[in-house]
């Protein structure tokens, strides 16, 4: 994990954005960057089903709309 001192602390973990990555099985996967209240930034990997569910939960139609969303939206997709 890394720390990011430029983003002010949030009361809960928030999504900072996402990148696409190539998965072991040859499918595209979503690498989510999550910033925790203590400033630590970690990553979570989602497959297509979970990734699309997250986007639906966030009511967005593009990966680029994930920044700033609550981490709790991931749980709604599980």
């Amino acid at each position: 994990m890394t720390t990011d001192g430029e983003v002010p602390p949030a009361p809960e973990a928030i999504l900072m954005g996402a990148e696409l990555a190539a998965g072991h099985d040859g499918q595209a996967e979503m690498v989510l960057r999550i910033r925790y209240p203590n400033g630590v930034v970690g990553s979570v990997l989602l497959d297509a089903a979970a990734g699309y569910a997250l986007m639906r939960n966030c009511n967005i139609d593009s990966l680029d709309g994930l920044a700033g969303q609550s981490w709790r939206k991931i749980l709604e997709g599980v």
Binding site: M1, T2, E19, L20, A21, A22, G23, H24, D25, G26, Q27, A28, E29, M30, V31, G42, S43, V44, L45, A48, G51, Y52, M55, R56, D61, S62, L63, D64
Partner: protein, 554 residues
């Protein structure tokens, strides 16, 4: 009289030293002499201008089922691979009670994408239940050497039955697993494999994932007592932090029981650029403590495949595509039939009509793609059709009932300037090919050829001799294969003759050679002239021979 003399080649013996021009003589399946060989021989191969090296060893395969009807493990052999290690990731086909076959077959179908026909009695005679029986079933037909792992999941299933996928084991059950593992090792298993991530056909965790640490520790005790055998592990490779925790766990097992351990896969990705370096740094720390924790890294890049039939995140930055693709299939097809909808989707892809986004995709064969398009660049096809690239993706997909796959080559693990130095790290084990698995998703063959074409000839991260050592002697040493991996008198005559200037993997293509005419993707080899297994020529001049000289590596 010798059985075979390979004359005039540059002998690269697997030790990493500079090659020497010499002849190699073979007798009774062993290397008899290296040097200026005189004397009579039954067969001579002229290797002038060629490299003569030990046969390559592939340490991570899933050929367990394929070996029942294809003892050549095609196309691994033609790439110069003379020994394979199946039984990885907690799964092997023995020991396996008849009553449990359907459960394990389901796991193989889920993980390897092997068609169900492969497990019918036409192909799998099911003459065995125990490990010795499986080895006896495959060995007569082998043209390639096999050093099989026994899977933790099937050991658990044998001892615990259905409870293997429900709970931790009792002390008595752990003791029974220890006894069973010991017997498997004595019957031909080279080590034990386990998995912390795999799922069965029903989406349930495989049995090994229900084991407590004390169970794994007890099994590793047996690996130690039986001569320091290998433990192979699939960790939570998608998360660097958990993988590092597993490295520490493996190190403790290695030190406690004096065993080697290996884990796979390790990928490098632009999305997580710190992960692989952090993992390799932890490996170095554990080696410094005396532990043996070998990370396996594949040479080949990862290609991303997608179709409009199964929504892919590959398209997740195109809002209108996302809105359409997450609709149920019937509505999705209807939406794509609407010209105005397609027009707006194409507009999403930029003023170049999607050329930058899609132009370099390759249309894959093996599904409803027209044969004339398979294997070709989408941008070229689009121009032929008088369409833009995005328009071509939509229309070709519609014409194939959406069952047309597109390939984005080099989607990950593809930055040669990063991968090369990692592969060259002496603590990195080249492996993780997954040969015999992911059959309908991508080709798992040709990683050895890619090592030479990309990292010897193109990037120069390896000398030829270093590359040969990495996939021969190093692999044999890591796995304890004492009579393989080197060209030395007295050792097994596993030999590959190849052209250093051209050895490579060819383009991926679909073939229909699985039981029931099932489809899989493969890559053929180029630059490999002759492959010798235990002294017999198993592949020469582009053709497989009738030789069945492979053996279980005991």
């Amino acid at each position: 009289m010798y059985d075979l003399i390979i004359r005039n080649g540059l002998v690269v013996d697997g030790e990493g030293e500079a090659g020497v021009h010499a002849d190699v003589a073979v007798q009774d399946g062993k290397i008899a002499m290296i040097g200026a060989v005189t004397g009579e021989t039954r067969r001579t191969i002229d290797a002038t201008g060629r490299i003569v090296a030990p046969g390559f060893i592939d340490p991570h395969t899933h050929f367990d089922a394929q070996l029942l009807w294809d003892g050549q493990a095609r196309p691994a052999l033609e790439h110069g691979v003379t020994s394979v290690i199946p039984g990885n990731c907690s799964l092997s086909l023995a020991p396996l009670r008849a009553a449990d076959r359907d459960i394990v077959v389901g796991m193989f179908q889920q993980i390897e994408e092997m068609p169900p026909e492969a497990f019918t009695k036409k192909y799998a005679k099911w003459t065995w239940e125990d490990f010795a029986g499986y080895c006896a079933a495959i060995e007569p037909g082998l043209a390639i050497n096999v050093a099989p792992l026994v899977g933790h999941s099937v050991i658990r299933l044998w001892v615990m039955g259905a409870d293997a996928q429900q709970r931790a084991a009792t002390g008595a059950e752990i003791a029974a697993m220890q006894a069973l593992l010991r017997q498997c090792l004595r019957d031909g298993a080279i080590g034990l494999s386990t998995s912390f991530v795999d799922m069965d056909a029903k989406g349930h965790p495989v049995p090994s994932r229900f084991a407590e640490f004390k169970e794994l520790d007890a099994l590793c005790q047996v690996l130690g007592e039986e001569g320091g055998r290998m433990l192979q592990v699939v960790p939570e490779f998608y998360d660097a932090d958990i993988t590092i925790a597993r490295i520490d766990q493996l190190a403790e097992l290695s030190l406690a029981h004096n065993i080697p351990t290996t884990f796979s896969p390790v990928f490098d990705s632009a999305a997580t650029p710190h992960s692989a370096p952090r993992i390799l740094a932890r490996v170095a720390e554990q080696f410094a403590r005396g532990a043996r924790v070998w990370p396996q890294m594949q040479t080949r890049p990862i290609d991303i495949s997608f179709s409009l039939l199964n929504p892919s995140l590959y398209l997740a930055r195109l809002p209108r595509w996302v809105r359409i693709l997450r609709q149920p299939l019937e509505q999705r097809i209807a939406a794509l039939e609407d010209a105005e909808t397609r027009k707006t989707m194409i507009a999403d892809c930029g003023p170049d009509g999607g050329e930058a986004l899609f132009g370099n995709l390759v249309v894959r064969g093996g599904d409803k793609a027209p044969a004339a398009y398979a294997g070709r660049r989408l941008g070229d096809i689009a121009r032929e059709r008088g369409e833009g690239a995005a328009e071509a993706v939509l229309n070709i997909s519609r014409e194939g009932g959406l069952d047309v796959a597109f390939l984005a080559a080099n989607g990950g693990h593809h930055a040669t300037d990063r991968i090369g130095p990692m592969l060259a790290n002496p603590l990195v084990h080249i492996g993780a090919s997954d040969g015999g698995a992911h059959l309908a998703s991508f080709s798992t063959y040709g990683d050895t050829g890619y090592l030479f074409s990309e990292f010897v000839r193109k990037s120069g991260d390896f000398t030829l001799e270093q590359a040969v050592k990495k996939i021969t002697a190093d692999t044999a040493d890591i796995w304890g294969l004492k009579d393989r991996g080197r060209l030395k008198p007295g050792l097994a005559a596993d030999i590959v003759v190849f052209d250093a200037d051209t050895i490579a993997r060819l383009e991926e293509r679909p073939v229909y050679d699985l039981p029931g005419d099932g489809m899989r993707y493969i890559r053929s080899a180029t630059g490999v002239d002759v492959v010798v297994v235990n002294g017999a020529v198993a592949y020469a001049d582009g053709a497989y021979t009738e030789a069945r000289s492979g053996a279980i590596c005991r």
